[in-house]
């Protein structure tokens, strides 16, 4: 055992690691180092705890450490890149469970030893149990939805809200009873935990699979608060600090994620009850049941900011939007970030021969950045992003593949070969030829809806803000 003062300083150091680490996680350049710093903080906290606390028995500790580390490492190593979100959900649930167990152990210990639990300690124990349990079961549901163990669709039934409300009320009541009544109330204790688990399920089940990341982020924030409450229970500051940090930063992250989806948190959490899936759904589904993937300017900006090779495909929509100057600005910005930008000019893009040339000349785009179809078509494969701005027919793969199409036989720009495709248009309207475009439903295509000029301006601001 080390002097308690040293332990406190050790915990403070760990806290500082978490603070700085968390801050660094917020920007791409510093994130890896930030995560490592925060991991160091955790190591310090664990070591300090082991040195500081009077350890009566080491067996439980060793078993738990070996088991937990092993499973954790194995899961992190083997998980598919695409299954990351559900892994995070699962891990978050475990965190919640740990809080329940710690607080529960404290409660049972006092209870069994016949010690009176002071009311404030009782409150924090209850909070720790409650939040931990909700986090646990909610996270498991989120995991199940993402892993497609259960349906990703919102599950709702009449009276569901009422039921949830009643359970929440029940928990409060029981918890209050436990606090006020000094007598041993083990059944109430177990009932509270049970009800909290059910509450977690009820809260997450009506939310759609696509919204799970937001839910996980929110539950993550909860698990932070649970940890902080545990800190109150065992009177440990590092738990309080780290827990509070995660709790509040988690809320902020949740808000940021909602904003990126253009939704409010309330809409995410309770949207299913209203049964309106928002504007996204209206344009989301094609006649053949395929779906388009819509992207925010923020997201698209990140892609462009880090792209090495960008090919811009202008079409009539660029002209309609009169966005020629902004597109040039965007290109300048990408080039300043180290990428290269070329323009692929289709022979019949626009509504008159040379339409795109007139526009781009007006914006002073140098001639040597303009490539005609034959010159650029085999470059798309190497392109990180093909940025299709208000073009439609000239990038319609039907011209290659569908003999029934009115544009069959017209050579087109092979944008679908690019590593990633961003299409900017106002909606799902067809172009001059009046036909649907399968490119918009391509798995690598993301649609950035809106007037091209507005979208381009947004991209410029976002890239500058990165």
């Amino acid at each position: 055992m080390i002097p308690h003062v040293l332990a406190e300083l050790g915990y403070l150091l760990a806290s500082a690691c978490f603070i700085v680490g968390l801050k660094r996680l917020g920007s791409p350049a510093t994130a890896p180092a930030g995560n490592r710093l925060s991991a160091w903080g955790m190591l310090i906290a664990v070591v300090v705890t082991l040195l500081d606390t009077q350890m009566v028995s080491w067996t439980a500790i060793v078993i738990g450490l070996v088991l937990g580390s092993g499973i954790g490492l194995w899961m992190a190593r083997t998980v598919q890149m695409t299954s990351m979100p559900q892994l995070v959900a699962l891990l978050n649930g475990f965190g919640g469970a740990a809080s329940v167990l710690v607080a529960g152990a404290e409660f049972l210990r006092s209870e069994l030893a016949g010690e009176a639990i002071p009311p404030e300690t009782g409150v924090v124990i209850q909070l720790s149990l409650l939040i931990g349990a909700v986090t646990f079961s909610g996270s498991l549901i989120a995991w199940a939805k993402l892993q497609e163990v259960m349906t990703g669709k919102p599950i709702t039934w009449p009276g569901q809200k009422l039921m949830t409300g009643l359970i929440a009320l029940g928990i409060v009541g029981l918890a209050g009873w436990q606090l006020t009544d000094a007598a041993s109330l083990l059944p109430a204790f177990y009932t509270v935990i049970g009800l909290a688990v059910v509450l977690g399920v009820l809260l997450v089940i009506p939310i759609g699979g696509a919204d799970m990341p937001v839910v996980i982020s929110l539950l993550n924030s909860y698990s932070g608060i649970a940890a902080a409450m545990t800190g109150f229970v065992i009177n440990n500051h590092v738990l309080i600090i780290a827990g509070a940090l995660v709790g509040s930063s988690g809320i902020i992250l949740t808000r940021i994620m909602c904003k990126a989806m253009n939704r409010s948190l309330a809409n995410v959490l309770f949207g299913a009850f209203g049964q309106t899936a928002g504007t996204g759904g209206a344009i989301g589904a094609s006649s053949e049941g395929l779906t388009v993937r819509s992207v925010s300017a923020e997201d698209a900006a990140v892609q462009l900011a880090y792209a090495q090779q960008v090919i811009v495909v202008p079409g009539y929509g660029l002209a309609v939007a009169q966005a020629q100057h902004v597109v040039r600005e965007l290109a300048d910005l990408i080039e300043k970030n180290g990428g290269t930008v070329r323009y692929a000019i289709h022979p019949v893009a626009g509504r008159m021969p040379g339409h795109m040339n007139v526009l781009l000349a007006e914006a002073n785009v140098p001639y040597d950045k303009l490539f005609d179809m034959d010159a650029i078509n085999d470059q798309f494969e190497q392109a990180d992003v093909a940025l299709v701005i208000g073009a439609n027919d000239v990038v319609n793969p039907a011209a290659r593949s569908d003999p029934a199409s009115p544009i069959y036989g017209m050579p087109i720009l092979d944008v679908d070969k690019a590593k990633s495709i961003i299409v900017m248009k106002r909606g799902m309207n067809p172009g001059f030829a009046g036909i649907e475009n399968a490119l918009f439903y391509h798995p690598r295509t993301a649609m950035l809806f809106g007037d091209a000029k507005g979208s381009l301006s947004a991209l410029v601001s976002e890239i500058k803000a990165l």
């Binding site: 806290s15 978490f18 680490g21 968390l22 996680l25 917020g26 920007s27 791409p28 994130a31 890896p32 925060s38 991991a39 955790m42 906290a45 705890t49 009077q54 350890m55 009566v56 439980a60 500790i61 078993i63 738990g64 088991l67 937990g68 954790g72 899961m75 992190a76 990351m84 995070v88 891990l91 978050n92 475990f94 965190g95 469970a97 740990a98 167990l101 529960g104 152990a105 210990r109 404030e120 996980i216 982020s217 109150f232 440990n236 590092v238 738990l239 309080i240 780290a242 827990g243 509070a244 940090l245 995660v246 930063s249 988690g250 902020i252 992250l253 994620m257 990126a260 923020e298 892609q303």
Partner: protein, 97 residues
């Protein structure tokens, strides 16, 4: 209310404010790693778990302790490892860059 709780509340309040300020603008590609990284931090419950597990409270320590330590440790180790994996994708060759 005990002095300890009061000080806890002061610290909790400060840390909460700090958490609100730490995260400001996050590019969407970092949303998941950030969530995962802060989730790992919430594994700080490990400290509590260790106290319980090492406290020698009989079966409580054994059952609750092993469980708590194991769960918290999965959260910690899995969380940091998976965050690191995600973040490594952004550097140099992989992923977005």
């Amino acid at each position: 209310m005990s002095e300890g709780i009061i000080i806890g509340i002061v610290i909790f309040t400060l840390a909460t404010f700090l958490g609100f300020e730490l995260i400001q603008r996050v590019p969407p590609t970092l949303h998941t790693p950030l969530m995962s990284g802060s989730n790992a931090i919430s594994g700080i419950t490990i400290v509590g778990a260790l106290v319980v597990a090492g406290g020698g409270f009989g079966w409580i320590s054994t059952v609750f302790g092993i469980g708590a330590v194991a769960f918290a440790m999965m959260n910690v180790v899995g969380g940091y490892a998976v965050t690191d994996r995600m973040l490594r994708m952004f550097s140099k060759d992989g992923g977005g860059k």
